[in-house]
């Protein structure tokens, strides 16, 4: 016999407390009651009362005994007392089903996962009916999909619904989770059963392997060559030039010669034949020039047991210099200023041509204000006061620039202090505006962010090609900064790479500042990351396209390749293997709580009938009998 819900200590403590309470109430109930009466003359002599008292002493204890017995039985029912040996009670097993990238591999007619499910079902069928099983899907994470349950239907359903994932197997973590789950269940510890390809992300020490381990290995070949990474990078100087690198790996134990085929936007590169020694990695580089967007793909032939990492796709964006439409009456003066930047191409128009149907990506308006504002980001140079996009609060005919806002990206590298300007407009700055240069009266160069109705704009409240600033290096830097702010995408260095899901590491340049780094996915949601030893680390458990922004640099991580484990874990010699024989034990211990509850209630009912209800009934009967015997007043009068 053993308790399921309460320990013996808890049971006896509870019984002691409740029993003591009942006994105290019983004694209180049976103690002498005090009563004030009109007279004592009708009471029978004390001797007969004493006789009655002794008779009562003989009878009343049964009431207490029945109450205590009833309570003890009810408490035993709550404790779920069971009859039988503890060995009869079912064991708690944890079934680890490998859903890592290798589970999608081919095994016989189906996949490795199909073979794992078949083995798992056979194992569950071989267990005694009272055994409980928790099904856990293991890849980079260990995810329980059922609690410890003896319901075969629930277990089979959890096994059936298991699907392959794309991350590598973290078996050490899975073993740790299974051991903890068995501890928390506080039951009879059964086996930890692993079924899968035994290909892990890292090596496993023997210390992490549980003693009660059973391994069910499906038939499969581990000879496989797959793509580990595809990276594309735009050239720093020439925005149309791309360098792409494809990295392959041989996961098997024999050498393989594979053919690598690559293409961009339907244009095939010449195939390359690559020989890979066991566990060797090799890279192939491709350089090409294009300004159009398209998909860069790479694939490995021949196909082997695992096809999920044998082809990879990477979407390259459109590239090329920033197209700028300049409306000015002095193109010869502005041309050297704008064309000094190789990332942009300027198209000059007369202000009377505004707006032209051929539009660039940024508009420069020099010394005039059009009737309709541009729908593109725009730079306004010395606009007239009436048509200025930013309200002018005053004019300064001898302005001196007091401050360049170096703390912002717009003011980076601007140092021309005390520069005198003959005719400057002082702007009215609003909340959210970024002043770039200030005189003592207010900002004279200002940037305003895009709103719901207007695109970004920057305005220079003076003519930079007149006066002292014409000869300062500040002027081209100011133009470059404003252009970069108006169209940051065009100036950003772009790195693209395709890799496996799971942990991704991005090396950072030493000058990149951690506080400027931001990682978002395709939906714009921020992802957590760490920066350690000059590299950014992040984790994703499912295929994802991530963008890492850092100042003027953007890295696109297309983490769509499966993370294929490359270490084969050898089964320890003392671990059980294969499907166990059926134990033949079909039944478990006998639950007694229902019978105990019924008997306990019966005891309390009997006590109530014998000592509670009947006593009240007798009192009522005596009263009605006495009332019936009451003399009739009218008879007395006669």
């Amino acid at each position: 016999m053993f308790f399921l819900n309460l320990t013996a200590g808890e049971f006896f403590t509870l019984l002691g407390v409740v029993g003591g309470l009942v006994t105290a109430l019983y004694l209180l109930d049976k103690s002498k009651r005090k009563k004030v009466v009109s007279t004592l003359r009708f009471w029978t002599p004390a001797r007969s009362a004493e006789e009655l008292q002794s008779r009562r002493r003989m009878r009343e204890p049964w009431s207490l005994i029945l109450q205590l017995l009833g309570l003890a039985l009810l408490l035993l029912a709550i404790a779920q007392l069971q009859w039988g040996s503890k060995l009869w009670r079912g064991k708690d097993h944890v079934l680890l089903i490998d859903t890592s990238a290798w589970s999608a591999g081919r095994s016989g007619d189906g996949t490795v996962l199909d073979a794992e499910k078949r083995l798992a079902r056979q194992y569950v069928q071989a267990l005694p009916a009272s055994d409980r099983v928790m099904v856990v899907r293991v890849d980079a994470l260990a995810t329980p999909v059922s609690p410890f349950t003896s319901s075969r239907r629930q277990i089979m359903s959890a096994i059936q619904e298991t699907v392959s994932q794309t991350s590598a197997l973290n078996l050490e973590q899975a073993f740790s989770f299974a051991t903890q789950a068995q501890n928390w269940a506080d039951g009879v510890r059964g086996e930890i059963v692993y079924t899968g390809a035994r290909m892990t992300a890292g090596e496993i020490t023997d210390a992490g392997v549980p003693a009660n381990l059973r391994v069910l290995t499906p038939e499969l070949s581990r000879e496989h060559v797959g793509i580990r990474r595809l990276a594309a990078k735009r050239d720093q100087q020439e925005s149309n030039s791309w360098d792409a690198t494809v990295t392959l790996k041989n996961f098997g134990v024999t050498s393989h010669v594979v053919r690598l085929e690559a293409q961009f936007a339907g244009t095939h590169f010449s195939p390359r034949s690559i020989e890979l020694a066991p566990h060797q990695e090799a890279s192939a580089e491709y350089s090409f020039v294009t300004s159009t967007a398209g998909e860069l793909t790479a694939s490995v032939a021949p196909a082997d047991v695992l096809s999920t990492d044998q082809d990879v796709h990477l979407r390259l964006p459109k590239s090329g210099p920033l197209q700028v439409d300049v409306y000015t009456k002095r193109p010869q003066e502005l041309r050297p200023l704008l064309e000094a930047n190789h990332r942009l191409v300027a198209h000059f128009f007369d202000p009377s041509q505004y707006p032209t149907p051929q539009q660039g990506e940024v508009v420069v308006l020099d010394g005039f204000a059009p009737r309709s504002r541009p729908t593109l980001p725009s730079l306004w140079i010395d606009p007239p006061r009436e048509g200025s996009p930013v309200a002018v609060k005053g004019l300064d005919y001898d302005a001196v620039i007091k401050t360049w806002h170096n703390e912002t990206m717009l003011g980076a590298g601007l140092h021309a202090r005390e520069a005198h300007i003959a005719n400057a407009k002082i702007f009215e700055a609003l909340d959210g505006d970024t002043p770039v240069a200030n005189t003592s009266a207010g900002p004279i160069v200002l940037a305003r962010n895009a709103t719901g109705t207007h695109p970004k704009l920057a305005v220079i409240g003076f003519d930079p090609l007149q006066g002292q600033l014409k000869f300062e290096v500040t002027t081209p830097i100011l133009f470059a900064n404003l252009m970069r702010w108006l169209s940051p995408e065009s100036f950003r260095t772009l790195d693209l790479s395709a890799g496996g899901v799971g942990t991704a590491t991005v090396p950072l340049d030493p000058k990149e500042r951690t506080e400027q780094i931001r990682v978002v996915n395709d939906n714009g949601a921020s992802l957590p990351f760490t920066v350690r030893a000059g590299a950014l680390e992040l984790f994703t458990a499912e295929p994802n396209i991530l963008h890492v922004y850092s100042a003027d640099r953007e890295r696109v991580l297309s983490l769509t390749l499966p993370e294929v484990g490359d270490f084969e874990w050898k089964t320890p010699p003392d671990a059980a293997q294969g499907i166990p024989r059926s134990s033949g034990i079909s039944g478990g211990p006998v639950d007694l709580w229902k019978w105990l509850a019924v008997t306990g209630l019966a005891c309390l009912l009997a006590e109530w009938i014998m000592f509670g209800r009947q006593m009240r009934a007798r009192t009522l009967a005596a009263k009605s009998k006495a009332a019936a015997a009451q003399p009739e007043p009218e008879l007395a009068a006669k």
Partner: protein
């Protein structure tokens, strides 16, 4: 304003009742027989010759004018049989009632008020005489129903006090009120001594007695089960008992025997007896048991 002992509706219903007595008293006429003695009264009885010292107001001046002789008018005297209502105010009257019922003391006061009102309606004079170990200050109620309020105030002012002593009460009563009449006892008749002998003395002195015995439910059928410690409310005496069915039955039998003896004493002396529980509403008691023993 204090709550009246009996409400107005009940008083109106009491107007049709009368206090009856059955005995003839020497010098007085009881029952419904008129007196043949001349005296102060309203009803004319006869004429006689005027003698010196007679009240000139009784001279028949009309006859003097005719016969030139003085004749004196004589009127029929209307003697009232004295009705004395002895109300037990001992502390035993406050015990023995069920929690839902009035205690005997309050019930007795209400009952006394109702009887006084009945008497006042018939222009009787009723002496309210509280007692416990001795007679306390009395109150004479007379003069019709409009004099009911002082009597009610008197009853409301009574407080339970003292131990019942029928022997002393009877001795004082007989010396205080030698004129015979109707004596109504409202009491629980639970005297530790013997109450029968004193009551017999009162009857022996020619009084007509009406015993109204009140009891609480607990007085006659004590509740509870098991060991009990009982305290006599008057004497403070303790008694430990084990109450069970047979003990309860013995107790009730002894109580009924006591009531029967009281009834027997009343009947033997030409009196009447009514005994009822305080659980019976007062109105039911007045128009039920009491009306029957009164004869309407």
């Amino acid at each position: 304003m204090a709550e009246p002992l009996v409400d107005r509706g009940f008083l109106e219903r009491l107007e049709r009742l009368t206090l009856h007595w059955q005995k003839s008293f020497n010098g007085l006429v009881g029952g419904h027989n008129l007196s043949r003695f001349a005296g102060p009264g309203q009803e004319f009885l006869d004429h006689r010759n005027f003698h010196q010292g007679d009240d000139l107001r009784a001279v028949n001046w009309r006859a003097f004018m005719r016969f030139e002789k003085l004749f004196l008018k004589m009127f029929q005297v209307e003697p009232r049989v004295p009705v004395r209502l002895l109300v037990d105010v001992s502390v035993s009257m406050t015990a023995g009632h069920a929690p839902k019922d009035l205690n005997k003391f309050d019930y007795a006061r209400k009952l006394a008020a109702a009887l006084v009102y009945v008497g006042l309606v018939r222009l009787d004079s009723i002496l309210l005489q509280p007692f416990s170990s001795r007679l306390l200050d009395p109150f004479l109620a007379s003069g019709g129903r409009h004099r009911f309020q002082p009597a009610e105030n008197f009853l409301r002012g009574l407080t339970p006090d003292g131990k019942t002593n029928y022997l002393e009460t009877a001795r004082q009563f007989l010396s205080e009120y030698p004129q015979r009449g109707l004596v109504i006892f409202i009491s629980d008749f639970l005297d530790d001594g013997d109450c029968f002998k004193p009551l017999q003395y009162i009857a022996d002195f020619g009084h007509e007695v009406l015993f109204i015995q009140l009891w609480g439910e607990e007085d006659r059928t004590p509740s509870g089960q098991g060991e009990m410690e009982l305290t006599d409310i008057e004497s403070g005496t303790l008694l430990k008992i084990a109450l069970d069915e047979s003990a309860r039955e013995s107790y009730t039998a002894a109580f009924d025997e006591h009531s029967a003896a009281l009834r027997k004493l009343a009947i033997r002396n030409g009196g009447r007896y009514a005994g009822f529980s305080t659980s019976i509403p007062l109105e039911d008691a007045m128009f039920g048991p009491l009306m029957m023993v009164q004869g309407g």
